[in-house]
Point group: C2
Chain length 352, copies 2
């Protein structure tokens, strides 16, 4: 069984592994597609960030070297869970949960004190097959293609961010950063009844894609002041809600600048220390709401995709084999911002 | 008519003014008490901050020199509004509102684009009498004393902060900074059904007062780690909501550190630029909610005070005459942290 394993920064190895035996509560998935995420790129470029290297993750029991990839789907090829039959097409919701902490007991499993993801804190989907806990498995509707299913995971991040916000029908929204999650946030806002949807980035191709996915206006922040444009597009009112998905100080500044008094900035992008102007935030009664991961959204996303209301695969710009994953996937994404989402097909196109 | 006027930093002048004629929609108040606020101290120590000096405020039409003091109450002595009779005891809600902007039209007058306060952007209550717009006047219930009424304004800031938060009955709360607003936030939380109410400051006398006002626990941050104490006091869970009322980086850090995942930090204290750890905030799905001023809370506060449910005057540590206001009020508050709220009685104790 071939797998792409993280051994260290700039050290991904395509290796042949012996498939391990299933333990209770586990299923084996033959992977159809696995997307490469921005966090995978960070681990590749200068990790480890989330990958455990000294102590095993408390739920997965694993540490590096491990198989990357947490955006995947496929077919059940082995199962010890009687409710999950072999041959079933499935999407994977790769979030570990302990089931016992304060947060898990309240159903807030994205806040689990041992929060982690298969493909970062345990073996993931950049492999011909992968073993996951049965609770990660969602039965895929027949109408949902595998290339759509592989993009459900970033779509889940986007939908959770929208659900975490106080979005009300017709609200003017701005989204900063047209990476995969930003683009899918635009799509979710269109599906969830936002009014103006203003997409902000510095790459023309990504802005064009944002328009195709539902943005009412695309702002190139390298050529115009995004906050001024947002105010102009909203009769001088400003955005009711702005989503910071780029993860940079400049984007955070613009996100806060473009919202109206009493408005909301939803923090999705990860960055370290940042500066904020508390005087301004207090005087405008802004709200900064953070969103991480997702919970309880995969079923909705699969249903919307099956009904043709959203198409998560719209962000996919390239499909490659497992052997091409580093050169045509990881390196291409780092070098070329016209690449948005690369899907890896570890078992070739016969499963597509 | 004697008034204490701000002419510049460290330049408050007790002057004798000729009372001006009332314009339509105005009433004249003989002041019973006027409290000295932290923002008055800032204007005195190193202003101007909010006081207009070059262009008049768009609603008051005034700029410096002007009479300080926005926490006041008294008796109506002249009125051109037929609904407000002479002799009525009143509390003043000193917030200007234009009535026409996007926010005023939605009733969010604390977000008015011309937001301002009588006593900062127009003449205030550190005077024998003051003229205010009729909309600022609330009829005082007979049961509410003037020394209680003078403290309704900071109590309004506190209650608005609690109302802006997502407080639910039984929530564990922490309050950082036991100045007047922090102490009154403790009192509001007690009145509004909070569970644990943990008060944090570095001054023993202020912490003792916090206990008297309803705090279940008082933490001296100069002697113990406030976040550790909050977690210990909440079975390791952390606060559901923490209020930052001190307005300092250290207090903001502690406020964010003591809340549980998914918890809320309410920003009330004013400071300039501050640093936050976005990575931590996103991963814990925190919410930062800003609160400024107040709206629609004076009637509730007067009713609660009349029924004995709260006592805003509990923060009052000294009462002085207008002639003593600088030496025994402003200077004492700057020098001595055991002084919390000083009330000035411009017409002497005969109105108390």
């Amino acid at each position: 069984m071939k797998a792409l394993r993280w051994h260290g920064p700039r050290d991904l190895r395509l290796v042949d592994l012996v498939a391990c035996e299933l333990r209770p509560g586990e299923v084996r998935i033959r992977v159809a597609y696995c997307g490469i995420c921005g966090s995978d790129l960070h681990e590749y470029a200068d990790g480890p960030h989330a990958i455990p290297i000294e102590r095993p993750h408390p739920i997965s029991g694993r540490c590096a070297p491990l198989t990357l990839g947490h955006e995947f789907c496929g077919v059940v090829v082995e199962s010890v869970d009687p409710e999950i039959e072999v041959g079933r097409r499935v999407a994977i919701e790769p979030a570990y949960r302990c089931g016992e902490c304060l947060y898990c007991r309240q159903g807030q499993y994205n806040r689990c004190i041992s929060m982690g993801f298969a493909g970062l804190m345990g073996d993931g989907g950049l492999a011909e097959s992968v073993v996951v806990p049965a609770y990660m498995v969602h039965r895929l509707p027949d109408e949902v293609r595998f290339d759509q299913a592989a993009a459900l995971e970033p779509a889940a991040v986007a939908l959770h961010a929208v659900r975490t916000s106080g979005l009300r029908a017709g609200d003017a929204c701005a989204v900063f950063g047209m990476g995969p999650v930003g683009l899918l946030t635009v799509a979710m806002l269109r599906q969830c009844g936002a009014g103006e949807i203003i997409a902000v980035d510095v790459h023309a191709n990504r802005l064009a894609l944002a328009g195709a996915m539902g943005a009412s206006r695309a702002v190139n922040a390298s050529r115009e002041d995004s906050a001024s444009t947002v105010f102009a597009a909203t009769s001088g009112r400003g955005a009711a809600i702005a989503f910071e998905v780029a993860g940079s100080q400049a984007s955070l500044d613009s996100t806060l600048a473009c919202v109206r008094k009493g408005g909301e900035a939803v923090l999705v992008g990860l960055m370290g220390k940042a500066q904020i102007d508390v005087f301004d935030i207090v005087n405008r009664e802004l709200r900064l709401t953070a969103s991480v991961g997702y919970r309880d959204v995969f079923p909705t996303l699969m249903a919307w995709t099956a009904r043709g209301l959203i198409d998560p695969s719209a962000i996919v710009t390239r499909k490659v084999s497992l052997a091409q994953a580093v050169s045509q996937g990881f390196n291409a994404l780092l070098a070329d911002k016209d690449q948005v989402k690369v899907l890896v097909a570890p078992n070739g196109e016969d499963m597509a």
